[in-house]
Amino acid sequence: MAALHEFLTSLFGAATPTIWIVLQIVAIVLPLMAVVAYLTYAERKIIGFMQVRIGPDRVGYWGLLQPIADALKLLVKEIIIPTGADKALFLLAPILSIVPALAAWAVIPFSDTLILADVNAGLLYAMAVSSLGVYGIILAGWASNSKYAFLGSMRSAAQLISYEVAMGMALITVLMVSNSLNLADIVRAQGEGIFASHGVSFFSWNWLPLLPMFVVYLVSGVAETNRAPFDMAEGESEIVAGFHVEYSGMAFAIFFLAEYANMILVSALTATLFLGGWLSPVSFLPDGLFWLLAKISALLFFFLWIRATFPRYRYDQVMRLGWKVFIPLCLVWIVVVGCWMMSPWNIWK
């Protein structure tokens, strides 16, 4: 890395920092896009196997080229703008939904040193940026000038607002026990503790002492990304396809990309905040990036698994779960953790 940096300095001189950061961004976004493409493939294959089907197997060996074929198809399709749609906002909406999904990756720590922006308020930044994604969905629904799209976006807006509260409260306990908003520090804090000193840091990660919050965060994460069983915003059997029903071609593909990029982002945040990020679960194996990737993959599998398993929630029950179950639970647990930290049995010193 240092050698590459020197080479760039000799090549570009004063413009090096800009070019260096652009290169780093590309190094994050390009693999992310590849992962998104193959996540769609994995989703179809895994759900296929769970339903005793084969899934895509026509394009390429084992259907491995299927996502590329899909992308090409969407790329050459026409983007139809409905009559009566607000054209500027109609085209702005997909951009507004993909940008936050990508921008939040700036603060995700990939390893001890591998972070694009190691800022103190990293956790807040990630929350703030990911809360902007809802605008893409709302505007898509409104600008399409279609009742199904509008219903979908209204559902989605209400749902996102509700679950963001629960998510934020779950994160308050995490930052209480880590004593930091810096995501890298939060991971480092998870590598210390009684179990970690016995060589099994797996049990020192936040998921165990904060188990109820881990569950709340994970379920809220599924709800935030509009995934089944919380896919009210799309609800194929109720409101056709929800907010993106009027979109076609690349505009639709960008919504699709944003949904999957958000899934990966929520998995990465969960892995970082509750599952020890890049830390190895046992002390005789080295820490590293691959642990983070393994944890993200496991969480993504969980996302696909519940999609294949659970039927869609009824809308009033989604709201009830968010407001009447998760938020009171979080409020109580914040007090519990606070008392725990002030008691002699505090494990986070």
Binding site: N120, A121, L124, A128, V129, S131, V134, I138, I161, L181
Partner: protein, 207 residues
């Protein structure tokens, strides 16, 4: 002019433009979106002042939650633009007076500290984490005003819930707790009876 000033003027220009469009945009949804843009640019300016906690909180709370609800409500309203504009000229003197007063007040506060007329200067920029510094100030020096503010907010919450949450008689909402507790015996009654011959009692199909 260094880069920081360029960024400052850029954000300020966007902020002023967006704020003007909030009150001039014909379409209410667009006006709300310009307000969102104004908030984001304001957050950017705060970020330049190294108040990153406030900047991010502004985006998180106002842009991420409050404005979404705002947009939600504005989209659901059936707004007649012409009727909205009817009383413009008769309301203008009052509105202009309020606006001028607000500008004057801001001028006194900002100008006062600019010309060193106040004793309390803005404290030097903190090197420690922004969040820690604000937390310490809120819970030590300003703990009573802060608690009073939170109690006022609590009153607001209670009032809102009391206004909207009263039990309506015609509500058809189901109690999920009762739904979950339902047993098969509440719904179906199994009756055991001996089998009967069909010939005489019931007419056969096709007859």
């Amino acid at each position: 002019m260094d880069f920081k000033s360029v960024v400052f003027y850029l954000f300020s220009a966007v902020l002023v433009f967006a704020s003007l469009r909030v009150i001039t945009a014909r379409n209410p949804v667009r006006a709300v979106l310009y307000l969102v843009l104004a908030f984001v640019s304001g957050g950017g300016i705060w970020m330049l002042l190294e108040a990153e906690f406030l900047a991010i909180t502004l985006v998180l709370v106002y842009v991420g939650a409050v404005m979404v609800l705002f947009l939600f409500v504005v989209m659901l309203l059936d707004i007649n633009l012409d009727r909205l504009r009817e009383g413009f000229w008769s309301y203008l003197p009052l509105g202009a007076t309020v606006g001028a007063l607000m500008a004057l007040e801001m001028g006194v506060v900002i100008g006062g500290s600019y010309f060193d007329l106040f004793e309390n200067r803005v404290p030097a920029l903190v090197t420690d984490s922004n969040v820690k510094e604000i937390g310490r100030l809120i819970y030590t020096d300003y703990v009573y005003p802060f608690e009073v503010a939170s109690v006022i907010l609590l009153v607001g919450i209670v009032a809102a819930i009391a206004l909207t949450g009263r039990q309506r008689r015609q509500t058809k909402a189901m109690d999920p707790a009762q739904q979950v507790l339902v047993k098969a015996s509440d719904r179906v009654r199994l009756v055991s009876m001996p089998s009967e011959k069909l010939e005489d009692s019931v007419p056969q199909a096709g007859e």
